[in-house]
C-alpha cells in the first residue's frame, strides 16, 4: 500500500516538473487565444485555430501559444481572458463578438497586455479590434447564383438575425440583382451557429421548396452535403468545403485570420504594436474565395471580374442608392456607398427580399 502511495506521489512530482517546464522559457512571447466553440467545429473556431497554427508555423521559435476553447460569452469569458493574462500571455486574441465587454474590462486590469478583439467596436489603448468583410464574398456568390440558378430560387440557411448575417444576405441579393433582378431568395433561420442535423434539415426544406442553389451562414458542411446528394449547387462557409460536394460547390468563403495574426504577433515582438481598428476584405486577403468550380467559363470569368472589382474598390456591394424592402431609399452616409456603421448595424432587408424580417 505504501509503495502505491509513493509511486503516486512521485508521479505527481514528475507531472509538476513537466508542467513547470514551460514557465522557464520566459524569453518566448506568450500568445493566448479565446475560442467560442470547439476547435473541431469545422467552422468559425476551426478557422481561428488554423490562424493560430499559422502563427506557430511562422514564428514558432519566438512564441508560445495557448488557447481556451468553448468559452461562453459572458462573465466566464472575463475569467478565462484574465486567466490567460495572469498566466503571462502578453498578446490575447478574443475571437467572438460577445467577448467585447469582458475584453475591455480585462484590458483595464492588465494594462501591460495587448488585446485583439474580433468583430467588436469598443477599443482601448491596449485593445485593438479586427473583423473581416465577409459580405464582399457573398456579393460574388450572389452574382454566381443569379447566373447558375434555373429555378430562380436560392435557399439561404441562416443562424441568427444579427447585422453580420443580415448584411451578408443583403450583399448576396445586391450581387444577384446586378445580374438578374428577379432572383428570389428563401431564408430559413435555424437559431444555431452549429447543429449539422438541423442545418441539413433546413437545406432539405429549402430544396423541397424549389431552391436549386444553397447559401449558408452556419458553420458545418451539412448544407453542402445535402446539396451534393440532391444534385444541386451550394456555397461553402468558413472553409473550402469542396470535398463535401465535389460537384456541388460553386465557391466558398474562406476565413483567413493567419496573415493578420502573424502580423500582429510580429508587431508585439518588434515593440510596434498599437491599438488599431482593422476591417479587411478580399483586398488584403482576410476573406478569400475558394476556387470557382462547377460553372461554365463565362460565369467563372464574371465571378473573377467581380472579385477583382471588389478588390480594387470599383465595385461596392452597398453603393448608393440602396433601397430597402419597403421601397424607401436608405440615407447614404458614406458618400457613394453606405458607411461602415450602417453595414455593421444593419437591421433591414434590401428590396427584392420578400421574406419577413425576423424580430
Amino acid at each position: 500500500m505504501k509503495r502505491t502511495i509513493l509511486a503516486a506521489l512521485s508521479a505527481i512530482g514528475l507531472a509538476a516538473t513537466v508542467l513547470a517546464a514551460p514557465a522557464l522559457a520566459e524569453d518566448k512571447l506568450k500568445v493566448g487565444f479565446i475560442y467560442l466553440g470547439p476547435v473541431g467545429d469545422y467552422g468559425w473556431t476551426y478557422q481561428h485555430e488554423v490562424g493560430r497554427q499559422a502563427v506557430v508555423k511562422a514564428l514558432g521559435d519566438k512564441v508560445d501559444t495557448t488557447y481556451v476553447e468553448n468559452v461562453p460569452e459572458g462573465p466566464d469569458a472575463q475569467r478565462a481572458i484574465e486567466n490567460l493574462a495572469a498566466d503571462g500571455n502578453k498578446l490575447i486574441f478574443t475571437t467572438s463578438f460577445g467577448y467585447m465587454d469582458p475584453t475591455i474590462k480585462a484590458a483595464k486590469n492588465y494594462p501591460d497586455v495587448d488585446f485583439e478583439h474580433a468583430t467588436g467596436f469598443k477599443r482601448a489603448d491596449n485593445v485593438s479590434t479586427y473583423a473581416a468583410r465577409f459580405y464582399e464574398g457573398r456579393y460574388i456568390e450572389g452574382v454566381i447564383a443569379a447566373k447558375m440558378s434555373k429555378s430562380g430560387i436560392v435557399g439561404y440557411v441562416a443562424p441568427f438575425p444579427i447585422p453580420e448575417v443580415i448584411s451578408g444576405i443583403n450583399s448576396f441579393m445586391r450581387g444577384a440583382q446586378s445580374v438578374r433582378p428577379d432572383l428570389k431568395i428563401k431564408i430559413v433561420w435555424v437559431s444555431t451557429w452549429y447543429d449539422p442535423g438541423k442545418e441539413a434539415d433546413a437545406a432539405k426544406a429549402l430544396i423541397a421548396q424549389g431552391a436549386d442553389i444553397l447559401a449558408q451562414h452556419t458553420d458545418s458542411p451539412a448544407a453542402m452535403q445535402a446539396a451534393a446528394e440532391k444534385g444541386i449547387y451550394a456555397f461553402g462557409q468558413d472553409s473550402d468545403m469542396i470535398k463535401f460536394g465535389p460537384k456541388a460547390q460553386l465557391t466558398a468563403i474562406v476565413n483567413n485570420w493567419g496573415d493578420y495574426y502573424i502580423e500582429r504577433t510580429k508587431a508585439v515582438l518588434d515593440g510596434t504594436w498599437k491599438s488599431t481598428d482593422t476591417w479587411q476584405g478580399l483586398d488584403k486577403g482576410m476573406v478569400k474565395m475558394a476556387d470557382f468550380t462547377n460553372m461554365p467559363d463565362d460565369v467563372k470569368k464574371l465571378a473573377q471580374d467581380t472579385e477583382d472589382g471588389l478588390k480594387s474598390g470599383k465595385i461596392n456591394p452597398f453603393s448608393c442608392p440602396v433601397v430597402n424592402q419597403d421601397g424607401q431609399t436608405v440615407e447614404c452616409k458614406g458618400g457613394d456607398h453606405l458607411d461602415a456603421g450602417q453595414i455593421l448595424g444593419m437591421n433591414w432587408y434590401v428590396k427584392g427580399i420578400d421574406d419577413k424580417f425576423p424580430n
Binding site: P196, K198, A200, L206, I207, A208, Q209, A211, S220, Q225
Partner: protein, 311 residues
Amino acid sequence: MNFTEAVILTIIASSTPFVLAGIGELVAERSGVLNLGVEGMMIMGTITGFATAYVTDSATLGFIAAIAAGMVFSSLFAFMTLGLAANQVASGLALTILGLGLSDLVGTGFVGLNRSKIPSLDIPGLTDLPMVGPILFGQDALVYLSIALVAAVWWFLYRSRGGLILRAVGESHVSAHALGYPVRLIRFGAVLFGGGCAGLAGAYLSLADTPFWGTGMTAGRGWIALALVVFASWRPWRLLLGAYFFGAIWIGNLHIQALSGSLPRWLVWPPQFWTALPYLATVIVLVMISSGKDRSGAAPASLGTPFVPDR
C-alpha cells in the same frame, strides 16, 4: 418528389434518432434506472460510428461499433449506480459531460473528413409509387429498424415474462428482490440496452443524416429523447408517435419559414418558440399525468432510487 412528400421524408429522417435513443431510455427507466447520460452515450456513438465506418469503409461496422460504444459507456454508469449505488441523476449528468469531452478528444483526427451517406432501400416499383412510395419504401434501413425496435420492445414489455419481471423491478425493486429476482442484473441489462440504442441513435447522425464528424453534433438531441420518454408516459407506441411529433416540430418550423413569403404573418412564429415546444409539451403532459386519477401513465415507482440488497 412533391412538397408534402419532402416534408414527411425529412420529418421521418430527423425523428429517427429520437425514436432510437428514446426507446432505449424507456427500457432503462422501466427497470427503475434514470440515466440522464443519453446525450453523452449518443455522442460517443456518433464519433465511434463515424470513425469506425471511415477507417473500415463499412457503415455496418460503424453502426455495430456505435452500439458497442454506447454499451461500454453505459456500463460505466451501471457500475456507478448499480455497483456502487451512486446517485443516478449525478452519475447521468457526469456521463453526459464526460461523453461530450471524450468524443471531442477521440474525434480530433476525424474533423473535416467526408463519407458518403448510407443508401436508402429503394425497392424498384414500390418506391416509384406516388406519395406512399418514397415514404414507405424509400427510407434507409435504420428507419425500419427503429420502428421494428419499438414493436419488439412493446412485445417484450407487455407480452413476455422477461418484460413482466423488468417492469416489476422498476415498480418495486424490494418486492422483486424478495421474490428472488436478480434486480441489479436485470437493471444492468436494461441500462446496456439503453446505451446501445443511444449509441445507434448517435451513429444515425454521423452516418445517415450528415455523414461527417463535428464536435458536439448531437446538439441536445439526447435531452429531447429524455423529455420524449416522459412525454410518452413510458409507453413504447406513444414514444414512437411522440418522436415523430417532436421531429415534426423540429423540422416543420424550417419548412414553414421557407414558405413564409407566401404565408400569413400569424403562422410564422419565432424559431425559438418551436425549439422550446417539445419541452413545453412534455411539461404539459407531466402536469396532466400527475393531475389524472389513472396512474397507469405515471413513472415506474422505483425510478431513480438506488437499490442495495439486504439493507
